[in-house]
């Protein structure tokens, strides 16, 4: 145990996700040895991020204004909406430069074992958007795990009766990998999602 404020700093850092007691101690001593200006800049950014950053009114991505950069961009298609679990998934999708529509962040996936049901996600807000915007297709891009798949199944069950085309991101073989190392679930999905390339 360190004394006073040093221990407080270690405790606070240790509450961050992925930071254990050892890492917290290392970061705390790094901050103690760093230039005052660097530490000042960090503390200012932390304060500003809490004051300024909020969720986009439309898609619930992180934003500094009422609308995020993507929702505010008139060049993006309003007929396509991609449903993701978390704001960080939007960054992964944007890196592909393939998708020019807009997003909707659910805020997680259905996980009954953790007490998270459909009512705990932003599904009502998604339905409201479908009524208010000229959306022609909903692309579900939840994680390809049990909870993500079940969330996609739930959304599809909800949206299909409305006559709304619902698609799911393809699952399959990672580019650059060897076929022989693929597991049977992934390979099975790759077969299901195969596409014609000739004939």
């Amino acid at each position: 145990m360190y004394e006073g404020v040093v221990q407080d700093l270690i405790d606070e850092l240790g509450r961050l996700p992925g930071v254990g007691p050892k890492s917290a101690q290392r970061i705390a001593f790094h901050l103690l040895q760093a230039d005052r200006a660097d530490v000042q800049r960090l503390s200012e950014v932390l304060a500003v991020v809490k004051d300024k950053v909020r969720f986009c009114d439309l898609c619930f991505n992180v934003s500094e204004d009422t609308l995020c950069r993507i929702c505010g961009d008139s060049r993006r298609s309003v007929s396509l909406i991609c449903v993701v679990e978390e704001p960080k998934d939007i960054m992964a999708m944007e890196r592909t430069r393939e998708f020019r529509g807009r997003y909707h962040v659910l805020g997680g996936a259905i996980s009954p074992i953790d007490g998270i049901g459909p009512d705990d996600l932003r599904i009502t807000e998604l339905m409201r958007r479908l009524g208010a915007e000229p959306i022609e297709e909903v692309i579900i891009a939840t994680n390809p795990n049990l909870n993500g798949e079940a969330t996609a199944t739930y959304l599809s069950r909800l949206l299909s009766p409305l006559g709304m085309p619902v698609s799911r991101l393809a699952s399959g073989l990672p580019v650059g990998g060897d076929l022989e190392y693929a597991d049977e679930v992934t390979l099975g999905r790759a077969f299901e999602g195969r596409r014609l390339i000739g004939g």
């Binding site: 992925g18 259905i110 996980s111 009954p112 074992i113 953790d114 007490g115 049901g117 795990n145 049990l146 798949e149 079940a150 199944t153 739930y154 069950r157 990672p174 650059g176 990998g177 190392y181 597991d183 049977e184 679930v185 992934t186 099975g188």
Partner: protein, 258 residues
């Protein structure tokens, strides 16, 4: 470091660090095991898909002080994959997995619980019986294996031959007129018949039951389970009760375990 092999059902997972997961599994030989699966959240992971809840795998681990480490996982039955495409089955499976987790202790072999869970997941994945009946039958049999077997015919208090009209959670099921205490309920006789059928695995009788008996049985089973566990099973609140439509050709996903 000592290694071991076992057959396991993945019960739940927790994120660990950047790309790892802590996987809680019910194994056939070692009871509940918690192990670290390294790198399984990467898209190129060799066995990430096999370590999702509801999957039955042949596992190789090495023992650690508090957590073991998964070194290999071979698929035996991908029940989780089939179940995730059917939302009511997914919610029922989650309730089964959470119950199995709660009823088992680490490193205490529970072969009967393992076999029951594998059978329940196979029934959900193969759509062999109505989902709500599979769940209730699993829950009744799981608490019975854990040592809290209910009775739905003879009196749970004095053993008097039934059928009886009252049901008491604390007593352990049906109770006769003299053993009946305040707080006992009086379910429909058809509900008692359904509960007895679910406990014994008489599917023909269970599937003949009507909607009202199923709903009442559902409530009693949930109450009985949570009474004995002393804490609520979170997944039960979110079970999606479907109107069951039998599949014309049930997909063949039931796999014999080695």
């Amino acid at each position: 470091m000592p290694t071991y092999k076992d057959v396991a059902i993945v019960v739940r997972t927790h994120k660990l660090g950047e790309t790892d997961r802590i996987v809680t599994m019910l194994t056939r030989g070692r009871g509940k095991v918690r192990a670290v699966a390294k790198g399984v959240r990467r898209t190129k992971s060799r066995f990430g898909a096999r370590l999702e809840p509801g999957m039955v795998v042949e596992l190789q681990c090495y023992e650690g002080r508090s957590l073991d480490t998964v070194t290999q996982a071979e698929m035996i039955a991908p029940y989780g994959d089939h179940i995730s495409r059917d939302y009511p089955a997914f919610t029922a499976a989650t309730a089964m997995l959470e119950t199995a987790d709660r009823l088992s202790e680490e490193h205490e072999p529970v072969v009967q619980q393992f076999n029951l869970l594998a059978g329940g997941l196979a029934a959900l994945a193969g759509r062999t019986h109505p989902i709500d009946l599979v769940l209730d039958s699993y829950l009744l049999r799981a608490v019975s294996i854990a040592g809290w077997a209910p009775t739905f015919v003879n009196c749970a208090g004095c053993g008097a031959a039934g059928p009886h009209r009252a049901f008491n959670l604390a007593a352990g099921g049906a109770v006769c007129y003299s053993c009946r205490t305040p707080g006992s309920s009086a379910p429909d006789p058809r509900t008692f018949e359904l509960l007895a059928a679910l406990l014994s695995g008489d599917w023909e009788q269970a599937e003949r039951s009507d909607e009202r008996a199923r709903r009442e049985a559902d409530g009693l089973v949930a109450a009985y389970l949570q009474w004995h566990l002393e804490r609520g099973v979170r997944s039960l609140r979110l079970v999606d009760h479907p109107v069951y439509v039998a599949s014309p050709v049930p997909p063949a996903v039931g796999v014999a375990l080695p």
